[in-house]
């Protein structure tokens, strides 16, 4: 189906995925202005029954997650490093997890090693409809607000629908049986969604200031330096009873040597992952972890870790692109305001 729509395919996390259909910029604009359809079936869906048990492995308030709600959380290792970032929805009488494609086997092994029962449904498909017109493409989801979750019937197809996504726009993520995915995708396209690939997904999430696992966060980074302290629930900051709690608590108290920041880059040349970041005196203070040309801003943007002393908004930094310093400035995230249906 992707090829019939003109997709250029790439390998990603062991999957043949559509990089782009008509072009990254056109697909990016379709998502910011209309509705874009992404096939993100490479992501891993799994079920967990015991919220209390899962809480031992994540800093989020999972036991307090009401039916019909979804939350972003983190799997942490004993050192407070991020094993994966994931979505947890309380829907259908259990917790539904959405795991990163490249991490799902690691996550499964980690969760099981800590005695928590988890049932993978990695064969299930996941489609994302994102953009200001997503509500018109999926009227079945009209009653859902941002981060709500529900079992919905879409043209006779049983779907797990959440009002969330990875673009900063309003939209839905729709899980269904693999056998139903093509019919569901055809229906959403017929209702006006534009097919969009991984390329646009990356530029959209970067503009929205959302981390990409493996680029911006990994097992060497804790939630404090990654600016994800908001994902540590208030209640969990009382008990500090999750794996990795002690190092995370210490990092919160003492601060971290580095911080993840957004950087607006001058000119038009994007600074890519790995580019060195220097301060005004020419000293290396960090590295870019994600960088692209932002179609909505018509300018390059980047995420990167810098020394804590260089992390304040407005700090002037140089990014080294092909041995030349390109001026940048630390900017508040997101680069493009979120427009969720709250």
């Amino acid at each position: 189906m992707h090829r019939r729509l003109g997709a250029r395919m790439v390998e990603f996390a062991g999957y043949e995925m559509p990089l782009q259909y008509t072009g990254i910029i056109a697909e990016h604009q379709a998502c910011r202005e209309g509705a874009a359809l992404f096939d993100v079936s490479h992501m891993g869906q799994a079920h967990v029954a015991d919220a209390r048990a899962l809480e031992a492995l994540v800093p989020g308030d999972i036991a307090g997650l009401p039916p019909g709600r979804q939350r972003y959380t983190l799997l942490l290792n004993a050192a407070g490093g991020i094993i994966d970032d994931l979505m947890v929805a309380h829907v259908g009488g259990h917790l539904q997890l959405v795991l990163n494609a490249g991490r799902k086997q690691v996550d499964l092994a980690h969760i099981r090693a800590h005695g928590v029962a988890i049932t993978p449904h990695f064969e299930r498909a996941l489609l994302a409809v994102q953009g200001p017109k997503a509500g018109a493409v999926l009227p079945e989801g009209a009653l859902l607000k941002f981060m709500d979750a529900a079992l919905l019937d879409v043209a006779g197809i049983g779907c797990v629908v959440t009002r969330s996504g990875y673009t900063g726009e309003d939209g839905f993520e729709i899980g269904c049986a693999a056998a139903d995915a093509e019919r569901l995708a055809e229906l959403l396209l017929a209702r006006g969604a534009t097919p969009a690939g991984l390329g646009a997904r990356d530029s959209l999430r970067l503009e929205a200031g959302l981390c990409l696992y493996g680029n911006d966060i990994d097992e060497e980074r804790n939630p404090v330096e990654a600016n994800l302290t908001w994902a540590i629930a208030k209640r969990r900051r009382v008990g500090w009873d999750f794996l990795g709690a002690a190092p995370v608590r210490a990092a919160l108290g003492a601060g971290t040597a580095e911080k993840l920041v957004g950087i607006k880059v001058s000119g038009r040349a994007p600074a890519r992952a790995g580019a060195e970041i220097r301060d005004a005196r020419g000293e290396c203070v960090g590295r870019v972890t994600s960088g692209c040309f932002a179609p909505s801003l018509n300018a390059p943007i980047a995420l990167g870790y810098v020394r804590a002393g260089c992390a304040a908004d407005g700090t002037a930094l140089d990014l080294i692109v092909r041995d030349k310093p390109i001026p940048g400035i630390v900017a508040p995230l997101p680069f493009v305001p979120h427009r969720y249906a709250r």
Binding site: Q20, G23, I24, I25, G199, A269, P270, R272
Partner: protein, 125 residues
């Protein structure tokens, strides 16, 4: 009639009446790169060797080098594609030329491909 030659690195070379070579990337190359957002061109006066990386094109997603198809000295770069990089997507083989150069050995163009040979090469990829 001017002659146009092609390289396996997906550049085209047009020899003008003044003997200067105009270099650009092929339509196949721009399509493979996707939306082009930035172009960096060599400075006039720079000596480049054949197959030397001497220009850069950036799409939203990735950076790619453009190679000098032949040895020589750069005489001029095209400011139009620096100001409007998307021109490379719409006019790769016409107005969106990259740079001009004086060839070290004008006869070296004969080692490049004809249009028919280049199309055959594309078909084999």
């Amino acid at each position: 009639m001017t002659q146009i030659f092609y390289s396996k690195d997906h550049e085209w070379v047009q020899i003008g009446e003044d003997g200067l070579a105009t270099i650009g990337i092929t339509d196949h190359a721009q399509a493979a790169l996707g939306d082009i957002v930035f172009v960096e061109l060599p400075e006039p006066g720079r000596n480049v060797a054949a197959h030397e990386a001497c220009a850069v094109v950036e799409s939203v997603k990735a950076a790619s080098d453009v190679y000098a198809p032949l040895s020589g000295t750069v005489t001029e770069a095209n400011p139009a594609i620096v100001d409007e990089p998307a021109l490379v997507n719409t006019a790769a083989e016409t107005t969106a030329w990259f740079f001009r150069m004086r060839l070290e050995d004008p006869a070296a163009v004969n080692a490049l491909l004809s249009r028919a040979a280049y199309d055959e090469f594309l078909g084999s990829l």
